[in-house]
């Protein structure tokens, strides 16, 4: 029996947490429900810039204990909220 809710729960919780992080730490002037999970974080999407990228790196470390040294992995992870969730879940899986 496929337990869909078990798959959804960790992603939904991380989505809530990352949305709050963008609004609170990066002062994104949007309500959390406007932050669609696959919308682009940078450029024409949420409009984040290189300074925000540095802030996101810091947040990943302070909020999730994740330090990413690989620039390619970071660039991929910072495309959307969903790709950030993928990174956090992968790091947690790797640490388990």
């Amino acid at each position: 029996m496929l337990d869909l809710e078990t798959q959804v729960a960790p992603r939904a919780a991380l989505l809530d947490r990352l949305r709050a992080l963008l609004v609170d730490h990066l002062q994104l002037r949007r309500a959390v429900d406007e932050l669609d999970p696959d919308a682009p974080l940078f450029g024409s999407g949420f409009g984040l810039d290189s300074l925000d990228a540095v802030e996101l790196v810091v947040c990943l470390e302070t909020e999730f204990g994740i330090r990413v040294g690989d620039a390619v992995a970071l660039r991929h992870a910072f495309r959307s909220l969903n790709t950030m969730i993928d990174l956090v879940l992968a790091e947690r899986g790797g640490a388990a």
Binding site: M1, L2, L4, E5, Q7, V8, R11, A12, L15, A31, D33, E34, L35, D36, P37, D38, A39, P40, G43, S44, G45, F46, V72, R75, H76, R79, S80, N82, T83, I85, D86, L89
Partner: protein, 348 residues
């Protein structure tokens, strides 16, 4: 050349497509800014030479066109996909009451060519000047032979060239001649459609259904909720009641539009638009799922197609790591591509 081969060219070198899906409307006059401000769902902060990516909505908040709004000195441009130039002009005229604004559909006088690919910038630099390398995304400039908008919906370096129809053949021939050194190839609208889906760009020619607003379509980043614009009241009302959201889905089997998506025996949504992705060598789809379960990373789903059930999973968009993210015009060139190192287009 097959659509799959066309997409491969677009993903690895440079490609040229006819831009018949695009239309440009110019708005002049003292009321031009105020007219665009009335119809733009997004704050209209633009300097000359800049574009703003947004959508046009109908009164029910259904997106009817994907648009770039541009500031061109004292004039404004509306570059639209999903509506004809005439329809865009009519839409603008319907909202222009009391404003001094002259609306000109340029479809009869001008056409578009779309240049894209990780080395499209190098083709354009040969055609015009090395200065184009510094053109930012959503910037534009006017050259003697065409106007060049850095935009596109393929995830690659993209340039939409706006050309007087009388010069169209000459410019196309010049691009083809310059493009030989970059293995540039012509590609079809079908290849652009596949590329747009791979990169999670909304396609106004395919991804339109009654009831799907920017909330269901994950297009809220193109909306500013504090504004008044066509459809803004309907959108605000929808905000608390949206029941579904689109998610990127993939399958090793063939998917078709309309296939019901199930988790076990439970129907949780349907395929809105499916294409075969040559980059991933699997089917990709925009899946419209019930909102509580509309997340990436779901496995074990089934899509029920007329040919039978096929396995389905959801994933984070976009579906590839575009080469254009890593090609740096200051360090790379098409001539050195075999010695340059780039990540794979699809991550394991």
């Amino acid at each position: 050349m097959s659509v799959a081969d066309e997409v491969r060219v677009l993903r690895t070198s440079a490609a040229l497509a006819a831009g018949d899906h695009l239309a440009c409307v110019r708005v002049r006059g003292a009321g031009a800014h105020d007219l665009l401000d009335r119809i733009s769902p997004r704050e209209l902060f633009l300097r000359s030479g800049q574009l703003l990516h947004t959508v046009l909505l109908d009164d029910a908040a259904l997106p009817i066109a994907d648009v770039y709004l541009g500031c061109d000195d004292d004039d404004y441009l509306v570059i639209a996909e999903g509506m004809t130039g005439r329809a865009v002009a009519d839409y603008l005229a319907a909202h222009a009451g009391g404003l001094d604004a002259a609306i000109e559909d340029t479809s009869e006088s001008h056409a578009f060519l779309c240049l894209g690919g990780p080395y499209a910038w190098e083709v354009l630099a040969e055609l015009t000047s090395p200065d184009v390398i510094g053109l930012p995304y959503l910037g534009f400039f006017h050259a003697p032979e065409f106007s060049c908008f850095r935009a596109g919906k393929t995830g690659e370096y993209g340039y939409d060239l706006w050309i007087e129809r009388g010069r169209l053949a000459e410019v196309r021939e010049r691009i083809a001649a310059v493009g030989r050194a970059f293995d540039l190839a012509p590609i079809s609208p079908a290849a652009l459609t596949v590329a747009a889906l791979e990169n999670w760009f909304w396609n106004p020619r395919r991804d339109v259904r009654p009831g799907l607003t920017p909330i269901e379509l994950q297009l809220q980043w193109r909306i500013s909720y504090g504004r008044t614009f066509p459809g803004s009241a309907a959108l605000a009302a929808r905000r608390a009641s949206a029941q579904q959201r689109i998610v990127l889905a993939a399958s090793p089997g063939a998917l078709v539009d309309g296939a019901v998506i199930c988790a076990g025996d439970r129907a949780i949504g349907a395929v809105l638009h499916a294409e075969w992705s040559p980059t991933r060598d699997e089917a990709l789809a925009i899946a419209l799922l019930d909102r509580p379960v509309a997340h990436a990373g779901l496995t074990g789903l089934i899509a029920r197609t007329p040919a039978g059930a096929v396995p389905l999973r959801t994933l984070s968009a976009p579906a590839l790591d575009n080469r254009s993210l890593y090609v740096d015009p200051q360090r790379h060139s098409y001539a050195t591509r075999h010695t340059d190192s780039f990540p794979p287009l699809v991550r394991a």
